[in-house]
Symmetry: C2
Subunit: 479 residues, 2 copies
């Protein structure tokens, strides 16, 4: 069977199975596998079993729902491409919480297709992109009876909660997970829906600040003026962490940041980017950010500090006149090479503790940390992906440094020692952590074809005798 | 019937009816009449009807549940004490919200008696104190067939929501509400449970600050650094309103504050007050407040600014990595003579608008305002109350300036032109706006007897021919 013939057969198979595939995709989206909420633990397990069931029925082997101590990992492989490279595909079946629920146009776990969009929580992040890999695997095995590469599929269930059990599982399974390359499809196309290979990701630090004062809420009239108010104190702390100018004020925060080179600034400036359209899509009166940097530099190459949640006291309608006994905030930092999230956490905690008046108790807790990553542009796998994209989408990909964090990329690099290729198919405005998440049906369908082509490309490159995944091409360490 | 004979009969009646009275009091507390929450509107009406039913069965006349456009007002009177003064009694049947509900040792609307305490929302503020007046009325009419004074009982249902309809109702009913004196029992004893006549109350200003940015929550990785975060901006605004030193920074905020005189400072310093015990009861590591003032001065005689509630974004367990689309805070100021809440609101709004960056939208909304009040110590009604307290409790009352606000006091003064006597029976640590509110059974029982004696005292004073409620004795204006 020739490669071109295989591709034609593949196309025919994919065309014929479109309706069935879509129905299956929607059934995946119906599982409310929110990993951060304990009440959805059973749903997370169902989603893992759904993935394992798909892998099994498609012909993958060694399929299992692997225990981790948290939500399980779905695993399956196909290892009969002797002499061809081995690729580990990573994705996650867990999804973000859905609040504020009242801003969803439709229930988040009742997915629908509207025109060219699939609407529902997880449609893009990351169930839709996991399904792209499953359907490529299905189509190749169905039409050729074999894959061009050896494939190991790992779909975890705690990515949206900072993957607390993933690293340990990687370490425990290091031998069986050995691969030449890892492919992670959990990123987005560039603005304008341009096919994109992501060559840099920010790291993350996520912490909670808890301020407590009196043992109970106090009447603000009877006690106001005599005790410090935890909500006012928390606001003061948050205000001290980052100025209204967007500059983070934690001492030492910028110490390890590698300044952007002139070449990197030029590359970012060359990307097609309509700042006006970007602003309008977000609905903000004006963009903000750190002085001295462009929007794309702020997004991909500069560290940030954002409050993701904050709460204290009364939140109902009207007036309740209290001094709340406690106040809380979730604070996340996006980090860039060469920042270490644990070092930044220590800086954050020390600064908050120094700021806190002795009239209250303040605790700072680390909830998650992930290293920033960079993928070399000239890696042969990067170039193979570029060819697969160009042949499928008809345009060359752009190479972007993105603001998001996928801490598991750093884990795959450091634990398994493999280069990581970030090949994501989400539309740029997919609202993946917000209400009304969606996936482009076109990106989904062409994504399946791109992945299948990529496996062919990698096998062909391998066939030349030059193994592109040789140690010399391992990506530079992230930190 | 002699006055002493009347008192003995009264005592006998009150002793005999204790169990029945307590059961009735608990039935009042079972009505979840939370005025700020729209879903409790029917409960508020039930509470008004409960009060009206009690008044009717006790022999009050012209009893009605008066419509106001909001929660209704229960009214009843007894006007057959020819030549005796007319007293308007004010109270409220509505109660504070109950969150955080999980900090209540028992359900807030399932009241119980434990030892010397009645536990339940409203036990002290203000149902228990309304019931004190109802039971004094009942006992006097049951034992004497008449009251020593003319009485008009007004029990409203929106006090905990800043009484938005009360002033208009007062204006509309000015003629029928004409009185020589208003008695408001919605305050507390001094620390140590010392019987107290409150001679000064702080005013209040309650506002909401809403900050909005993007049209939807944004992924903090994809967008972090490029847009201003409404939660960070709100924290910056709140931090700018009041320093960690407790000094309010709104320009002009202190302009109209009447400085404490040396005599007032001396009077406050003379009050028995155990600062260490106060701190320990609140469970705070250390007291706070404005430099240069004592705790009692901070509480009663200095204005404040406190966040009563604050919310934005994700509040669940774990991590959700978003930039919230909006952030909100409830901000309350306690004001002192001669501050005008509407002027302070204008100062607050102007300052917040000046602080807000143009990257977000900021709204400041007035939710409530009430004038501060002062009652002259040498008013004959104040002295009559002091005698009634001393004869019932066996100790002289203390005279306190309290931090709480009862905006209706200013309304009664300004609309009806009557002096207001603040005769409250709540224990000082009744947790009236917090979980586990309670009332002292002893204060409740002796409160009933004090009120009955006060009516006798006022009638006796009136009999001397010197009307203590003559215009010349009207209290000084609050502002």
């Amino acid at each position: 069977m020739t490669r071109d013939g295989g591709v034609s057969q593949l196309e025919a198979y994919l065309d014929a199975s479109r309706e069935q595939r879509l129905a299956s995709y929607l059934s995946f989206l119906r599982i409310p596998s929110i990993s951060t909420l304990p009440e959805h633990a059973a749903d997370c397990r169902s989603a893992a079993e759904w993935v394992a069931g798909q892998l099994r029925s498609m012909g993958a082997e060694h399929v299992e729902v692997a225990e981790t101590g948290g939500h399980p990992i779905a695993y399956g492989d196909w290892l009969h491409a002797d002499g061809a490279p081995t690729v580990l595909v990573y994705g996650h079946y867990d999804v973000q919480p859905v609040d504020p629920i009242d801003l969803w146009a439709r229930p988040p776990f009742e997915p629908v297709v509207e025109g060219s969009r699939v609407l529902g929580r997880g449609a893009s992040d990351d169930k839709g992109q996991v399904d792209i890999h499953l359907r490529a695997l299905e189509a190749l095995l169905a039409t050729r009876g074999r894959l061009p590469v050896n494939l190991k599929v790992v779909v975890e269930g705690e990515e949206e909660n900072n993957s607390p059990h993933f690293d340990a599982w990687l370490v425990d399974n290091r031998a069986r997970l050995a691969a030449d390359l890892a492919v992670v499809s959990d990123s987005r196309f560039f603005d304008g829906n341009l096919p994109t290979i992501t060559v840099g990701l920010r790291g993350i630090l996520y912490a909670q600040i808890d301020v407590s004062g009196s043992a109970m809420d106090l009447h603000s009239g009877s006690y106001g003026g005599t005790v410090d108010n935890p909500a006012n104190v928390l606001a003061g702390i948050i205000a001290a962490l980052k100025g209204l100018d967007g500059v983070v004020r934690i001492p030492g925060f910028y110490d390890d940041v590698v300044p952007l080179s002139d070449a990197e600034r030029a590359a970012l400036a060359d990307l097609p980017f309509d700042e006006q359209a970007y602003r309008e899509a977000l609905g903000v009166p004006s963009l903000g950010g750190e002085p001295g940097y462009t929007t794309l530099e702020r997004r991909g190459a500069r560290p940030t500090l954002d409050v993701s949640g904050m709460w204290a006291g009364f939140q109902g309608a009207g007036a309740k006149t209290i001094i709340p006994s406690d106040a809380h905030a979730k604070v996340g930092c996006r980090l860039v090479p060469n920042q270490d999230p644990r070092r930044v956490f220590d800086q954050l905690r020390a600064y908050v503790e120094a700021l806190a008046p002795r009239t209250v108790r303040v605790d700072v807790t680390l909830l998650g940390a992930g290293l920033p990553t960079r993928t070399p542009l000239d890696h042969p796998a990067t170039q193979a992906a570029a060819r697969a994209i160009e042949r499928t989408f008809g345009v060359r990909p752009v190479y972007a440094r993105e603001g998001v964090s996928i801490p598991v990329c750093a884990s795959l690099e450091t634990v398994l020692g493999v280069p990581v290729l970030l090949l994501g198919f989400g539309p740029p405005d997919d609202q993946s952590h917000a209400p009304n998440e969606w996936m482009s049906l076109s990106n989904y369908e062409l994504g399946i074809r791109t992945v299948a082509r990529l496996w062919d490309e990698l096998a062909a490159t391998s066939g030349t005798g030059t193994r592109p995944w040789a140690p010399g091409h391992a990506p530079q360490a992230a930190t």
